[in-house]
């Protein structure tokens, strides 16, 4: 079955470093130094304290499916999901390279990189571990 083409993201000055890291195979997630908590999506100010006392940490790439849905009414069916990373935060993603009908909430998944349209930017997806 043909895979859905993933549209390329449009980085901005705040997020260029994040997307550049993706192209090096690193998924960098936000960390709030005030609370010690990781966060998603990446941003300069903490979504917990609005402080700029933040940093980024590289995710291990391991996580679990929090929820998902297979879009059937699409030229190429695809699976959107929220994956909770081992580092604690939950991100939107696609589950790829698998039998969609076998997926379950709570299932362990691991990071895989997919090309986006245009071939210049990689994006984080997940597949059953």
């Amino acid at each position: 079955m043909a895979e859905r083409k993933i549209p390329a993201p449009e980085p901005n000055p705040e997020t260029e470093a994040f997307w550049a890291a993706c192209n090096e195979g690193k998924l960098m997630i936000g960390k709030c130094n005030d609370t010690g908590k990781t966060y998603w999506y990446p941003r300069a100010l903490s979504p917990f304290t609005l402080s700029d006392n933040t940093t980024t940490v590289q995710a291990s790439g391991n996580g679990k499916i929090y929820s998902y849905s297979v879009m059937r009414r699409s030229p190429e069916p695809y699976c959107i999901a929220y994956v909770t990373l081992d580092e604690g935060t939950t991100m939107m993603t696609n589950i790829v390279d698998c039998d969609f009908d076998s997926l379950k909430i709570g299932q362990a998944v691991k990071l895989v990189w997919k090309d986006t349209e245009g071939g210049k930017q990689k994006i984080a997806c997940f597949t059953p571990a």
Binding site: N12, P42, Y82
Partner: protein, 390 residues
């Protein structure tokens, strides 16, 4: 300052069209405005406040005030929280009236997504690269349906909710819609019809989804002294609550909606409790939307929504909580892909005793309207309104 008893809904109007290929968007807004003012017994020159949201063309209140010739405006509000905007607008209108800023507030909604051939639920929508979330979400193909579907998946996982229970929500809406000559879907459907309809995004089937329609509606909110000069039933605003919910920096919990916060605010202001409500208009973009909001508003315990909606409990005349007796978004209409305004309309009809006789709730003196706007699975607005017939 409370808004309780400080303002009334004097006029309402729902556009009868469901496909408006021969009308412009501004025209639809103006036609519903005229309809609601006529219903109240007021004129365009009485309007001193105007409310609209993102469905209004051009510069919203500026473009529409110009088009409609509203020349006495002293207050405008274009707060846009998606489909919940118009429920929120009623509360904001009551606040402005209570503060003495205006006396006659007009709220309009209109849209023509059906004429425009919009793939409302199944095509990913890009809100523009300026929205901070878009680059981290749009590539993954979030649509209206699959985002709500993820809420349903999680609800089923945590609470054992079933597709058959969700289907009962559509069944109830269809029982009501058969009496509405304007409704898009007037055939009564069964649980089997719903669960056997094509899967759109697991676990939501086609009949778990609302219709796509053109049309619109309007509401006129007035000060008590204006209400007393009019001949229409007095529908008093008792309480209003609003609260957005979002992804909490990645601490995502899809099992509840913003109604968890907006509901208690409205109930506290009104001084009533969920079991007092005789009729409820509940935003029904999808069956799961209704189920989660019913739980969050306190009509049943969290996780018990499936049992609550089953076996016709939402059907007027047989169930304990009659809902969306016009057929709602699931069967009647969903103009501009924003269903909040029409929720208020049917609540007012019920409170007035002007609903269709086959679905009119007896002694319906206390009603609730609730709206959700945006996406239940990422970020959404939530607005609750409680009304009483005086």
């Amino acid at each position: 300052m409370s808004i309780k008893g400080k303002a009334y809904i004097a006029g309402i109007y729902e556009h009868p069209t469901r496909k408006a290929t021969d009308k412009s968007l501004a025209q639809l807004h103006a036609e519903v405005a005229k309809g609601a003012l006529d219903d109240a017994g007021l004129t365009v020159d009485d309007v001193d406040a105007y409310f609209c949201a993102g469905d209004a063309p051009g510069l919203g209140p500026l473009s529409m005030a110009d088009y409609m010739g509203l020349r006495n405006l002293r207050h405008v509000d274009s707060t846009d929280v998606g489909g919940s905007s118009y429920v929120l607008h009623v509360g904001h209108a009551a606040e402005a009236i209570a503060a003495g800023k205006c006396k006659v507030a007009l709220i309009t909604l209109a849209g023509r997504p059906r004429s425009e051939g919009m793939a409302t639920g199944t095509a990913p929508r890009n809100y523009g690269s300026g929205a901070p979330d878009v680059q981290f979400e749009f590539p993954y193909g979030p649509t209206v349906v699959n985002m709500y579907a993820m809420c349903a998946m999680r609800h089923m996982h945590e609470y054992g909710t079933t597709s058959e229970q969700l289907a009962w929500i559509k069944v109830a809406a269809s029982h009501h819609a058969q009496h509405n000559p304007h409704a898009m879907l007037r055939n009564v459907v069964t649980v089997e019809d719903v669960v056997n309809s094509p899967m759109i995004a697991d676990p939501l089937h086609r009949l778990d989804c609302c219709v796509i329609s053109d049309g619109g509606g309007a509401i006129v909110v007035v000060a008590p002294e204006i209400m007393n000069s009019l001949k229409r039933p007095k529908i008093k605003i008792l309480g209003a609550g609003e609260a957005p919910k979002h992804q909490m920096g990645g601490e995502i919990d899809l099992t509840y909606s913003g109604a968890r916060w907006s509901g208690p605010i409205a109930f506290a202001e009104a001084g009533v409790k969920p079991s007092d409500i005789k009729y409820a208009s509940i935003y029904d973009s999808f069956t799961i939307t209704v189920l989660m909001q019913l739980e969050d508003l306190g009509f049943c315990e969290k996780g018990q929504g499936g049992k609550f909606v089953a076996d016709g409990n939402l059907i007027s005349g047989t169930g304990k909580l009659p809902f969306n007796t016009d057929g709602g978004g699931l069967c009647n209409n969903h103009p501009a892909n924003r269903g909040g305004l029409t929720k208020v309309l049917e609540a007012v009809r019920q409170a007035r005793g002007e609903a269709h006789p086959a679905v009119q709730v007896k002694n319906c003196d206390l009603v609730l309207a609730h709206g959700t706007g945006g996406s239940l699975g990422s970020r959404h607005g939530s607005a609750t309104l409680i009304l009483e017939r005086e």
